[in-house]
């Protein structure tokens, strides 16, 4: 296998240029885990026009599951919408009478969280109070004040790391004590919890679908052993506490699962057929109980997460593996 990965610098025009190069000059059989919502949004139409398998997109945007609009593009990780559905379900269970507030980034990412809560609450969504921010805003302090003043006692924060740190800090400083659920995009200890203040975030809930390489419970885990061997052998100087390496491994193993399923037929049609017909596929880096499933009408291969709570020192998994709604 010749795996060719080009730098797009997270620039949509550059992404288009590089993907055209991959398809027209390098003539790749398929694309795998192309990274980032803006980049994938820029290339998805072209890739589908060319009928090139666009496998296991590296983005949680829900739209990668739109098999009718993009039949050659399939997502991978739990979508933000799925995650949000699970958060809403959890709030209803843990605090049935809760008044829910949502802080969201005013883009596809943030709006997926609104959609997920709507999926679960339906008509009751009218009672939810929301506040948005732009990525160019300096802070979300004013939004936090607005949401607190609404009387909400449950908060979903669909905020990227900088703003997630701000909302955690502000909520604590205001002595507001909502049931606080945080997008799993922003669970980095170094980028979010420490800047927020590790004590301020105690009790915040988020979710995971991959094993955290720093979690002691996976120290001798067979599922991560292959990953550890690879890291030791081929990237000995890499920071193995960086969970993005686990992400890359798990996504790649999903592609390899697809290639194996192809048998001897690596045509683009068969690559897509196998990618969209996975049944309970297992990847060792996924949390126990989380399986990969796809079908011609399910382009969201991972639809499960497990909740976790910030203790002040680490994220602690709790409860069962949960699934989003089938919408």
């Amino acid at each position: 296998m010749n795996f060719i990965s080009y730098d797009d610098a997270y620039s949509p025009p550059k992404a288009v240029e590089q993907v055209r190069r991959l398809i027209e000059q390098d003539v790749v059989a398929c694309l795998s885990n192309t990274l980032g919502t803006p980049s994938n949004s820029a290339i998805v139409k072209y890739v589908n026009q060319k009928k090139v398998p666009h496998l296991f997109v590296g983005s949680g945007a829900d739209k990668w599951g739109d098999y009718k609009e993009h039949p050659w593009t399939i997502g991978w990780q739990p979508s933000y919408r799925t995650e949000s559905q699970i958060y809403a379900q959890y709030i209803l269970k843990a605090k049935p009478e809760a008044k829910i507030a949502i802080l969201y980034q005013n883009d596809d990412f943030g709006k997926d969280y609104l959609a997920g809560v709507k999926d679960v609450l339906k008509d009751r969504f009218d009672k939810v109070v929301t506040a948005s921010y732009e990525v160019t805003d300096p802070t979300v302090d004013s939004q936090a004040i607005t949401l607190q003043n609404s009387g909400a006692d449950a908060l979903i924060s669909a905020a990227t790391p900088k703003f997630a740190a701000q909302i955690i800090r502000k909520v604590a400083d205001m002595n507001w004590k909502p049931l606080h659920l945080l997008t799993n995009v922003s669970t980095s200890v170094g980028a979010v919890m420490e800047p927020a203040g590790v004590e301020r975030g105690i009790g915040v809930i988020s979710s995971a679908y991959l094993k955290d390489p720093t979690d002691p419970q996976w120290k001798s885990d067979a599922g991560l052993q292959h990953w550890r061997e690879i890291m030791k052998k081929y990237l000995p100087d890499a920071d193995i506490s960086d969970s993005f390496y686990v992400y890359g491994y798990a996504a790649t193993m999903t592609t390899i699962h697809t290639l194996r399923a192809c048998g001897t037929d690596f045509s683009r049609e068969n690559l897509m057929r196998q990618a969209t017909n996975m049944k309970d596929a297992e990847v060792g880096a996924l949390l126990p109980g989380i399986r990969i499933n796809s079908s011609p009408t399910n382009y969201h291969p991972i639809r499960q997460v497990q909740l976790m709570r910030w203790t002040g020192k680490t994220w602690e998994l709790f409860g069962d593996v949960l699934s989003g709604s089938a919408v």
Binding site: M1, N2, F3, I4, S5, Y6, D7, D8, A9, Y10, S11, A15, Q18, V19, L22, I23, D26, V27, V28, A29, C30, L31, S32, N33, T34, L35, G36, S39, I43, V52, G58, H226, W227, I230, K233, Y234, L235, A238, D242, F244, Y245, Y247, G248, Y249, A251, T252, M253, T255, I256, H257, L259, R260, G263, T264, D265, F266, S267, R268
Partner: protein, 75 residues
């Protein structure tokens, strides 16, 4: 940004059950008698380069078939 580097070591082929016989037809795009080409893009530079490690990792394999992982613009 366009620096080309070979990520040596990401070489092998766990997935290939019978590498010499993988070709279904000569006209299959991206597939030859000895190679399957797979493409990707990632932010190896710029503000989102923090997440680039996720694209840098191709599991190695051990059955003697060849996987060659090339990353352009890698760190």
């Amino acid at each position: 940004m366009r620096r080309r580097s070979l990520l040596t070591g990401f070489v092998a082929a766990q997935f290939v059950p019978a590498a010499p016989y993988i070709v279904r037809a000569p006209e299959t795009p991206g597939v030859t008698s000895s190679e399957i080409r797979i493409g990707s893009i990632a932010a190896y530079s710029g503000p989102a380069s923090r997440i680039a490690p996720s694209a840098a990792l191709i599991p190695p394999h051990s059955n003697g078939s060849t996987i060659r992982a090339v990353s352009v613009g890698a760190r």
